[in-house]
């Protein structure tokens, strides 16, 4: 596939991979930290459970996408990707591969601890769950960060070649991870007859929305930094960032879908939801539709961000020769 005369060697599967791995990593981190935060009573146990169930499959599907994009796989060498596991070296992809392995190795038993129907705080898995949760938090962050490092590690790709990219991917991973939990939690509790647990769920939702607001806020800040540093630099980076600046090939996609739809709208609505409580301890009940729409927008924005970044990096290059 070519675009504007550039070859897009990494296409939709890689975009999906970066997105799904991000959501999965975010979900695991969110799940584990909610779980840990919920304390021994397990206030957010259910949320943690949803996250635990989601994380592994999302990352596995994402990784599957990555395998699907491999040249070897497309040429019919189905299992050649196993060569990845024959070595370990300092390539971000090698490190990432092993991180993913660990992620899967940890997130599956972690999910397993939530599997029994009667799984509850203090059950037989409790210690293990707690232990795995402690590991999961940094692991999820590592996987999320690594997706950014993967792209950012190459001076040949000035659009990607920025340490801020890893931060951006981390924040986006967390916010999308949180969003997916928000979405699931809302869906699961839509007909919850038990007022107690329903309240917990609503509280959790509130907490999630609050963290999401924060994460999105930070993400906006990081995007601003990403843009500003590139814009203020000279040469390749300055030139590369033009694809998302006004008039650039990806500018509409970036400003409308990523920033406006994926960040500004959700953050505004969430602020509307959270600020009154913080400021005047007033409960603002969100319109039920909003509770569905917001996380979807965040997720969509997260996907579009990966799209813009992956494509943008490939249709720009260093200046001069």
């Amino acid at each position: 596939m070519t675009m504007n005369g550039y070859e897009l060697t990494w296409g939709v599967p890689v975009i999906l991979y970066l997105f799904l791995a991000g959501v999965g990593a975010g979900a695991l981190t969110a799940s584990a930290s909610m779980f840990l935060r919920g304390g021994p009573t397990g206030r957010y146990f259910n949320i943690a459970r949803y996250g635990a169930f989601l994380a592994a499959p999302l990352v596995i599907i994402g990784t599957g996408m990555l395998v699907f994009e491999l040249g070897s796989f497309q040429a019919g060498h189905w299992f050649k990707f196993l060569n990845l596991f024959k070595v370990i070296n300092l390539s971000p992809m090698s490190i990432g591969t092993w991180l993913l392995v660990w992620f899967i190795l940890i997130s599956i038993p972690y999910a397993y601890t939530f599997l029994p129907k009667n799984a509850a705080p203090g059950d037989t898995f409790d210690v293990m769950r707690r232990l795995l949760a402690w590991i999961s938090v940094p692991l999820g962050i590592a996987v999320a960060v690594y997706t950014g490092v993967l792209l950012g590690a190459m001076p040949s790709r000035p659009f990607w070649n920025s340490p801020i990219l890893a931060m951006l991917f981390l924040l986006s991973a967390l916010s999308t991870g949180v969003a997916v939990l928000l979405l699931i939690n809302t869906i699961m509790n839509r007909n919850n007859p038990d007022p107690g647990s329903k309240m917990d769920a609503e509280h959790a939702n509130y907490l999630l929305a609050e963290s999401d607001t924060l994460l999105i806020g930070l993400e906006i800040l990081v995007i601003f930094l990403f843009l500003m540093y590139a814009h203020l630099s000279v040469g390749s980076q300055r030139e590369a960032i033009k694809v998302i600046e006004w008039g650039g090939e990806l500018s509409l996609m970036f400003w409308f879908w990523v920033v406006f739809i994926g960040l500004l709208i959700p953050v505004t609505v969430e602020l509307f939801h959270t600020i009154p409580k913080i400021v005047s301890h007033k409960e603002v009940v969100l319109h039920p539709v909003m509770i569905y729409v917001i996380p979807v927008l965040v997720l969509f924005g997260g996907y579009m961000l990966r799209h813009v970044i992956v494509v943008g990096g490939q249709i720009t290059g260093p200046l001069g020769l």
């Binding site: 491999l70 070595v87 190459m154 001076p155 030139e239 260093p318």
Partner: protein
């Protein structure tokens, strides 16, 4: 290819390693006087190419020679030529820039490879790819600041110029060199002060591409046109860089 991946991966790598370099040392060790052996261990071969663009006529004999030598599929290129046109009528100029892998001494493509399928051969400086190990993740393709790598759709592995390893180890010139109509391409060992390429490097001012990337390329140019289309904005001059590749832009 229907060979067992594991088995072949091993042997191909051995082949890549053995061809030329290492085997040369062993062969030499039995036959050479001691002094020569110590010399061997001291100065390794570093293959390189010098392209004298004053002599290049943009004829693509190199492009096609390379396609033919390896039956490189349509749409991907080990070797290509860029045409840079600039100026205002009637002061217009066109120059030609033949391109290929630079066989960098500090190859970023190698650093990112998760499988060690690509490496720089210590014995002669060739940056090679073992298609039997390569999984086609395309990371190296992005990491190369020269657009020298591509995914070979037939093998599913990363691919690029290998300085015609199978020829040079037989004492032949690379395929693109041997047919160059302008005799613009000189290939040889730049560590050997007596090689033709060393003489020419010493006699002429040369440049490498994207020096600032720190890759330490081993493909040198005489009188290369480094102008890029992007420069137009800064120079207020018509500059057009054209290539015959499917991807029309430099990386």
């Amino acid at each position: 290819m229907s060979v067992n991946t594991k088995e072949s991966a091993k042997s191909r790598r051995k082949f890549l390693k053995n061809i030329g370099g290492i085997a040369a040392l062993t062969a030499g060790a039995t036959a050479l006087p001691k002094a020569a052996i110590s010399k061997i261990t001291k100065k390794k071969v570093q293959y390189g190419m010098l392209i004298d663009t004053r002599r290049c006529i943009g004829c693509h004999a190199c492009s096609v020679a390379c396609k033919s030598e390896f039956d490189v599929p349509l749409g991907v290129y080990r070797s290509w030529v860029e045409y840079t046109e600039k100026g205002t009528f009637p002061h217009v100029d066109r120059s030609f820039l033949p391109r290929l892998c630079n066989h960098c001494s500090e190859p970023p493509c190698v650093r990112v490879c998760p499988t060690n399928a690509t490496w720089r051969r210590d014995e002669d400086g060739l940056v090679v790819i073992d298609p039997d190990i390569c999984i086609g993740c395309k990371y190296c393709i992005h990491a190369c600041p020269y657009g020298a790598r591509f995914l070979n759709p037939v093998t599913g592995a990363a691919d690029k110029c290998d300085f015609c390893m199978h020829r040079i180890t037989q004492g032949l010139e690379p395929s693109c060199v041997n047919t160059c109509i302008g005799r613009a391409r000189i290939f040889g060992d730049i560590n050997d002060p007596n090689s033709e390429i060393s003489h020419r490097l010493a006699e002429n001012p040369t440049t490498v591409l994207r020096k600032e990337m720190g890759t330490k390329p081993n493909v040198y140019y005489i009188a290369a046109e480094h102008a890029d289309e992007h420069d137009q904005k800064y120079r207020n001059e018509y500059i057009s860089v054209k290539t015959h590749r499917k991807e029309k832009q430099r990386i």
